[in-house]
């Protein structure tokens, strides 16, 4: 088991009453799964991904990741955990505008303190694999949306994570680009990377091995 959510509640207080963002979420993810989270706007897809990604807290419930209990963990250990095992892909790509393609992909390795020679090899490998060697010195603004997302995925993968969290990864792309990206996820999944994606689109959800439906107020429904 990669991770397990038991009775997760997350709310904000507004005027004395609680507004639930996540309500009693239960989810078990095995390694090698490809899960799609679906639901209308405001149903808490992103919040759930953030909770899984340990970027956001929750008020109640248990979260176990690789048999470690995240809910009772200190901030520092938690961030160590997600840096080690989780890669993020965003709808808006979130590349650093001031860095080239090469440097964007290299950044997580820098933060991990990996040696220069090893870094070069890893980044070169990744560029080659995604067929973007020719673009390595370009800045994000010089790339198309699809290409930017490709770089975003390459960057998420560079640190060899067990789990990729993708929040509407094709939301800003046209259908052709979108198909290419989903195909790429599919391939990655067959290579053994666990993927959880949030999506609006039934077609994209169909790439996954299973779909989790969120209703308004964040109650999940399988």
């Amino acid at each position: 088991m990669l991770l397990e959510l038991n009775n997760i509640f997350k709310w904000v207080s507004q005027g004395g009453s609680r507004i639930f963002l996540l309500k009693d979420i239960n989810l078990q993810v095995e390694e090698g799964e490809f899960i799609s989270i679906m639901g209308p706007s405001g149903s808490g897809k992103s919040t759930l991904l953030n909770v899984i990604g340990m970027l956001d807290n929750f008020q109640e419930g248990e979260y176990n990741f690789l048999n470690e209990s995240v809910h009772s963990m200190k901030e520092k250990n938690r961030s160590k955990l997600y840096k080690e095992y989780i890669g993020f892909v965003f709808q808006a790509y979130h590349l650093i505008d001031e860095l080239t393609v090469y440097e964007n992909i290299e950044t997580p390795l820098l933060y991990k303190g990996i040696k220069s020679s090893e870094r070069k090899a890893l980044v070169a490998d990744m560029l080659d694999r995604f067929n973007i060697v020719g673009k390595k010195d370009l800045f994000p603004s010089q790339l198309s949306g699809g290409q930017q997302q490709l770089v975003g995925i390459a960057r998420a993968l560079i640190a060899k994570p067990k789990l990729i969290l993708a929040d509407e990864p094709t939301g800003n792309l046209n259908s052709k680009q979108s198909e290419e990206i989903m195909q790429l996820f599919k391939e990655l999944n067959t290579e053994g990377v666990t993927i959880i994606q949030a999506t609006h689109s039934e077609a994209n959800a169909a790439y996954g091995s299973r779909t989790l439906h969120l209703l308004d107020g964040g109650r999940n429904h399988l």
Partner: protein, 801 residues
Amino acid sequence: MIRNYFKIAWRNLKNKKLYTTIHILGLFAGISFALLIAVFVWQELQVNKNLKNATQQYILTSHWKNPNMGADFATLGPLAKSLKENYPNLVANYYRWDGITSVIANGETNFREGIQLGDESLLKMYGFPLLHGNAEKAFDNPFSVVIKAEKAIKFFGKTDVVGERVTIQNFEGANHEFTISGVLPEISENSVSQFFEKDDNGFFIAKNSATFFDRAKFQDWQSHIFISFLELQPGKTAEDLKLPIQKLINTHASEEIQRNLQIIPVKLTDYYLEKDNGTISRLLFTLAFIGLFILLMAIINFINISISHSGSRMREIGIRKVLGGRRKQLILQFLSESIILTAIATILACIAYSLFRPWFGELIGKELLSLSQLPAYFLVFPILLIGLVGILSGLYPAVVLSSYKSIDALNGKLKNSFSGETLRRALLGFQFITALIVLIAAVIVGQQVNYFFGKGLGYEKEYVVTASVPRDWTPEGVQKMKTIRNNFEKIPSVESVSLSYEIPNSNNGFQITSFKAGENPDLAVAAQGFVADEAYLKTYKIPLLAGKNLQANEPNANNVAINKKAVKTYGFKNVNEAIGQQLIIVGEDEPLTITGVFDDFHFESMQQKIKPQVMFNVNANAIYRYFSFKLKPNSVTEGLAEINKQWQVLMPGTSFEYKFMDETLANLYAGEIRFKKAANTATILALLIALLGIFGMVALSIDKRLKEIAIRKVLGASVKNISYLFVKEFLIVMGISIVIACPLVYWLMQLWLDNYAYRITIGLTPFITAFVMVCSITVILILLQTLKIAIANPVNSLRTE
């Protein structure tokens, strides 16, 4: 990793040219100014430190019970010598000198020059090297002169002039040849070879030629006009001198001197900074303080703009955090940016230093060293500065920016934390306050300086020029001068000409201590003694209040005119009562008779109260130094040309070197004028930096409220409404700043004005000027930025992604 930081920092800065420019400009202004001040302060602290055995060098200063009795920098002629002779274990060496001015000529070339007539020990005692000549033997022969290199060039066009001869005139008008025995190179500033700031004593003559000048009475215990230096034996201090000095004075000096004089030896290394009630050290403190403040403002500015700018960095911070960047790493990244900026600003400041140097030198009245002349350890300072300012100015933004929660940062949710906002407002307020204080202070200083040159002088300075005349202090000499004066008076463009010993430049010839006849001699008061002719009052337009003017052919040396202040001080009821009365000078038999009373005028700077003055007639007291010419307003140039022409005919062998009264006054108030310029400079810098700060703040507000503005526009807000939204925000900060700044600056300026016996009262004008200026500039700055947004199509800002 570090390289990576720098690379990112560099690109970031390159991409945001406007912000980078503002950042660098602000820091550059602050650092440049601080650098200039630092060099100046260092230079001033070095004065006298490079003399041989500098820690053992002393000057004897005189403290008179009544400061009018004598100058504090000079002392009794034989004192230093007797100390050395009687206490060889205490005093290692001594040097005394007397300053005179005379005409020096090399063939046809002649100038009036300052001469330092003193002991032969000069060169050896202080280890002054000679550019040419032998320091050991320079003063061995009488009629030898050592000259400064600049004077050698002035007279001979070269420095290698040992063996050449110059002719020097004495006070009887006789000439004698002097042989140049040495040339002094430019030596680092010290109080021995350049005692007075404006001093251009360029000729050093030993006392073995003193008889020629018949003035320097090195043996006279009554004469207290000698600047005297001592070098103490190793291990001895000023304390050890106390008893010997007291003993010598009690043995040799007159009872009056014993009663009134206290000699205080001062270390030369302290003397320069502490003389004149510590004028220099106060100036250094003030300047250092201003420099620090400006630098601080620049740093604050940097912080403000960095935080303001952070909005655009939020997403990057978020991504970096998600990608595994630790807080420490992010802080380092931001610090490297600020260090790069500071480094650029510092390097620019160092380059600009050579451009600003002459200008700043003029401002403070002293040439600044060039950077290459500074000792090598000065290199540490820019590096320290880059590190310190870089970290100081970058730390707060770095800590704040890196503290945002990654998920909020990623979504661009800038938390409007109350404390951050308040802090930024407070910092901006601080800048406003500083800008207001310096601005108001500058206006007040300007008003006071104008007052010095204004109507309150008591005499008319317009179209008055003065010129030194060759001396022949005999009754015949005076008659000759009077004839020359009458010739000058015939020039049509000259209104009147006066021959006198004093001009209103604070240097008078002597003091007299006297009392009203019939009163108790213990009530004797010191008055400034003047020597002038009958045209003096007319030339300077000083009103005669009672009695008669000085008479042209006055045979009696003791008929005098006094000023209004003296009337009161001597105890006469009114000006008319004083006429015909007698004054007794302490220690003399012949009484003075008052024949006239003239109105008070400012002979000294307005820092001093007007003193009692007694004016003697030059006709019977044969000493004089100046001609004062009152020219007719419309023909100043022709007047001067005509005077020059006549001068060559009437006094061949001397040149007409004139000064307008305005220049003389500018010298008298050099310190104040400098202070005014410094205040103006500080004002411009402070305003510049404060405006950069406001600029940054406005940019932030607009950035944050882009969407709000668009919505307001869609809802029908006019450009005016929107601009007002921003102006309002700053006017509040400004209002609070005004409330804090006003009492503060009022108090500070009262303190400064209290230095002056004659001063302006602080009115509303400086305050209103400052408000209007700062407010209007701020509003314009805000409008310039907001208008662009307010006019823009709101659709562009409402579109997301």
